[in-house]
Symmetry: C2
DNA sequence: CGAACATTTGACGGGCTTCAAAAGTCGTGG
DNA sequence: CCACGACTTTTGAAGCCCGTCAAATGTTCG
């Protein structure tokens, strides 16, 4: 057996650094700086449906998704959920809130059982002083987030449901897709209703459009959480994704 | 006459610093730093309809609207304009593009005859070194822009046209509104079609909803570019604006 | 295995889009 | 300053698509 070094299991080290090394904010750091970050981190577990925070609570933490997924949402005037962000492994949340004293304006809850790494405001600010390169990363991230919101606006203002849903499927296939031969298999952490709330539609409409995609041989649905993409070219075409 | 100091007209100084002092990026600067900025600025005029830039052009400038207004937009798959930003006096554009080497992904054109102040990439980067406080302002600005995009998503995903348009009118009354007694008078730089493209609707729908607002005695329309708001309370109510 | 929950499917109604035409507005040149 | 033409806006009518409500089917998890 290769157990000689079990007391020094590389995997335990690996796991320790895990949430830190996989987010873009920190992934460029060397071993030494990485350790500085690690020491400041709290680990938390949330069960499916539990809230990370609610509107009005003071924003005090940087949240990093280590395992699982999380949604960020508000309610529209007609009482429907509007999902703004879907976060998965390596995504983070709350960084910009730490540059001002302020309160959350939306809800966040776990979509499945989820592990998070968090940094308090104090620790985060201290870190910025110790490792100034993180500042640049934050600006780059803000820029990405703006681009993605701009894209989401373009998606949700479109009247065309197939366009919206095709965009959604492509977006998710990049995050969750696993290539299996010609096909791409996606396992969603979210329900039809969540998809609908993300796209500003109803669950029935999402359901109908997915069935139609299946009828067109673009996808095959397996159970409620799995989709196999058969014809990604045609899906790209529908999504006007060049 | 009060012409003794005409050779030293305070207004000419005022005008020189104008575009610089009125944008949030620079408004906190002292006289000395302000002068550093001023020296680097180019002034440009654009006629109504002229393009500031188009997709694919390299992003090389920070744009500041000194007088007039500008729209930033893309086209949807069905060939309709989707307006992302409407900028007026004191707004600026292109700052985040200067942190990366990149190209514009949208169009920008003048909505009326417009004066702009611009800074080249080189001058902007030099300025950041000379006046580091500007960095913080940029992050604060990015945060605001994210908030406003999030709000726009909430607006455009709403099915309710009166909600969307009420939000739009309130948004504009803050920028363009002039209080006249009980009323607020707004002079739009944009057409009905532009409003529609901003809200993801058609010009007919916007037209009909404005007529309905007029019928409800919330507004009075005068010509095509002027609206007087009679009952801002009810408009706020419709916009779910607390 | 069964109950709670999620998804699918169908039928219907309403509101926005589309197409079309009329009315209004704006700018230009005489 | 007025008149004309181009353009924008308004209004009307019809059609389609999504939302809503309801019921059936499927799925998940204790």
């Amino acid at each position: 057996m290769e157990n000689q070094t079990l007391h020094h299991d590389p995997c335990s080290i690996c796991k320790e650094t895990y949430c830190v090394s996989k987010i873009s904010l920190f992934s460029h750091l060397d071993r030494e700086d990485m350790t500085k970050v690690l020491k400041k981190i709290d680990r938390r577990k949330y069960k499916k449906g539990e809230f990370l925070f609610r509107p009005g609570e003071t924003a005090e933490r940087l949240w990093i998704v280590n395992e699982g997924s999380v949604k960020v949402f508000r309610y529209t005037i007609d009482g429907k959920e509007q999902i703004l962000y879907l976060l998965t492994e390596g995504d983070f949340l709350g960084d910009l809130n730490l540059f001002k004293e302020n309160r959350y304006e939306y809800y966040s809850s776990a979509l499945e059982n989820t592990r998070l790494c968090t940094l308090t405001r104090k620790n985060f600010q201290q870190l910025l002083l110790e490792v100034p390169t993180i500042n640049e990363k934050i600006l780059a991230y803000a820029y990405d987030r703006i681009s993605s919101l701009e894209k989401q606006i373009q998606t949700v203002t479109s009247k065309d449901v197939s366009f919206r849903l095709a965009n959604f499927l492509l977006h998710f296939s990049r995050h969750f897709g696993i290539k299996k031969g010609e096909e791409i298999e996606i396992t969603f952490p979210i329900s039809r209703e969540d998809i609908a709330n993300y796209l500003g539609l109803t669950r029935e409409t999402v359901s109908r459009q997915l069935s139609q995609f299946q009828g067109m041989n673009l996808i095959i649905m397996e159970g409620n959480k799995k989709v196999r993409i058969l014809d990604i070219e045609e899906l790209r075409h529908l999504a006007a994704d060049a």
